[in-house]
């Protein structure tokens, strides 16, 4: 592992403010549509699947599996692992796998959410479960 990278603070906006407010309390939220029942991520006010405006915040367990990943070797701040993680609730999201041995990462590996501080709201990352 390298020195702690400095992550940019989320800009946030009225549509996503609750996500970031909850992140400050260590809660990882997704959105679920009451009309079609589908969860989605990143959060929108209008469901991207059925276009209903009946979307609600839902706390995710923050657990999932790695769908795919790539360890970026060429980086001025040191190597990092980009990944897509499929949450137990369904949605697959883009993230980094942190606090891990890059060489042991595998597709299908179980991971869990971990928040990292910024100058604003903390950012969700994933780490081996």
């Amino acid at each position: 592992m390298t020195d702690k990278p400095k992550y940019p603070a989320p800009v946030t906006n009225p549509e996503t403010a609750q996500f970031w407010d909850s992140a400050k309390q260590g809660k990882f939220l997704i959105k679920r549509c009451k009309a079609c029942g589908e969860p989605h991520y990143f959060p929108r006010s209008i469901c991207p699947f059925c276009f209903s405006d009946k979307t609600e915040w839902e706390e995710s367990k923050g657990e999932g599996v790695i769908y795919s990943y790539s360890v970026m070797r060429k980086s001025p701040t040191g190597p990092y692992a980009t990944a897509y993680v499929t949450l137990n609730e369904g949605p697959t999201l883009f993230t980094n796998i942190v606090d891990c041995d890059f060489a042991s990462l595998k597709i299908g590996q179980r991971v869990k959410v971990v928040f990292k501080p910024t100058d604003g709201a903390p950012l969700p990352f994933f780490t081996p479960a």
Binding site: V11, P48, Y67, S70, R73, F94, F125
Partner: protein, 383 residues
């Protein structure tokens, strides 16, 4: 309604530079516009439709004024990254078919090696993605990693794409990389972002290119070989709210069939293919999506020199492609159109010219295949 046979490509020009510290980006746009118009036998006064994208300094009205395009009746600045220019080809054909313009100019130019890059516009995803450091390398790396996982694709198979590009580039005096490389060279080059090696990645070049699209009547009045557009498709794909994410296919699964259907042909009819090659994996996924082989069999398809002109079944990117020749301002679309037109005219390098090349596909993606992107496919025919 169809654009089939309603628009012809009358002029092409690829800027010979790959390193332009002594030129402005706008100047490069002007030089490629001038080159394509001269190739067609037209002048800037004839241009009544202009198509440019995110690389055009300031945008379309600044560029059209700078270029002195004072007779424009149709303007289109659709921005979909590197495939903007293949989308523009279709949009130009639509405008020509509808009588909205008669001589359309498409330009691309930039200087990532010697000047500032145009600012990137962020969308509603920004807080949920940018902190994680998405780059072309890791975005395409994630696609390759999953393709390998699902289908057993190997680094050696991907390397064959670069090998084919290098075989073609050796004959192109303007190509950035002219040395023929082997599969071993590729897999022994350093990893940039797993599983992609340095030689799986395209070049970074200054430069640009331009294309002139016109009516059948005007094309036939000019002295150039006749090349027409017979089919076109465009589509987009993204993470889609995280539902059913599958990085092993691209929006080419929609743009490709749409273009082939409009042209009334199948991939088996194609004599030459220009397919975007930001990375070797890009080509493998696109070949599958366009229907040149089944999903998952792209690695096998590209192996053993199958993309090398005169050797394999599908002559591809005979200019050396983005992997070896040119990738102006990190965008591939315009050079893909240009080499396909050279092939159809019989003006490719004799060592890579496909005999009796009368039907070609041009296909590209723009954006990041592993995150969100657009794709566009065009079928071109020599008349």
């Amino acid at each position: 309604m169809t654009i089939k046979n309603k628009a012809y490509i009358a002029g092409i020009y690829e800027h010979p530079t790959r390193h332009a510290p002594d030129k402005s980006t706008a100047q490069l746009h002007a030089e490629v516009a001038k080159g394509a118009l001269e190739d067609a036998g037209l002048t800037h006064v004839d241009v009544d439709g202009y198509f440019c994208a995110g690389d055009a300094p300031g945008g379309i009205w600044q560029m059209s004024d700078y270029l002195g395009l004072n007779r424009l009746r149709h303007l289109d600045s659709t921005e979909t990254g590197g495939c903007s220019y293949i989308i523009a080809l279709g949009h130009a054909a639509e405008a020509i078919a509808a009588g909205k313009c008669s001589v359309a100019l498409i330009t691309l130019a930039g200087k990532p090696r010697t000047g500032p890059m145009p600012p990137r516009a962020y969308g509603p995803e920004v807080d949920f993605e940018m902190a994680y450091g998405p780059t072309t390398h890791n975005a395409y790396g994630m696609c390759a990693m999953r393709h390998m996982h699902d289908f057993g694709t190997t680094s050696e198979q991907l390397a064959w794409v670069k090998v084919a590009a290098s075989h073609h580039a050796q004959y192109n005096p303007h190509a950035m990389l002219r040395d023929v490389v082997t599969v071993e060279d590729v897999v022994n080059s350093p990893i940039i972002s797993d599983p992609l090696h340095r030689l799986d990645c395209c070049v970074v070049s200054d430069g640009g290119g331009a294309v002139i699209v016109t009516t059948p009547e005007i094309a036939k009045s000019l002295k150039r070989p006749l090349v027409r557009l017979t089919g076109h498709g465009e589509a987009q794909k993204g993470p889609n709210g995280g539902r059913k994410l599958d990085l092993t296919y691209s929006a080419g699964v929609w743009s490709g069939p749409a273009a082939f259907a409009e042209a009334g042909i199948t991939p088996k009819d194609i004599k030459y293919a220009s397919i975007y090659d930001s990375f070797t994996i890009t080509v493998v996924i696109q070949l599958e999506d366009l229907g040149f082989c089944k999903k998952g069999e792209g690695g096998k398809f590209v192996s053993d020199g199958n993309l090398i002109s005169g050797v394999g079944k599908l002559p591809w990117n005979t200019d050396g492609g983005g992997l070896c020749n040119n990738h102006p301002i990190n965008r591939g679309g315009i050079t893909k159109i240009i080499e396909a037109v050279r092939q159809l005219r019989g003006e490719a390098h004799p060592k890579v010219q496909v005999p009796n090349c009368d039907l070609a596909v041009v296909h590209g993606t723009g954006g990041l295949l592993g995150i969100r992107h657009a794709a566009s496919t065009a079928i071109l025919e020599r008349v």
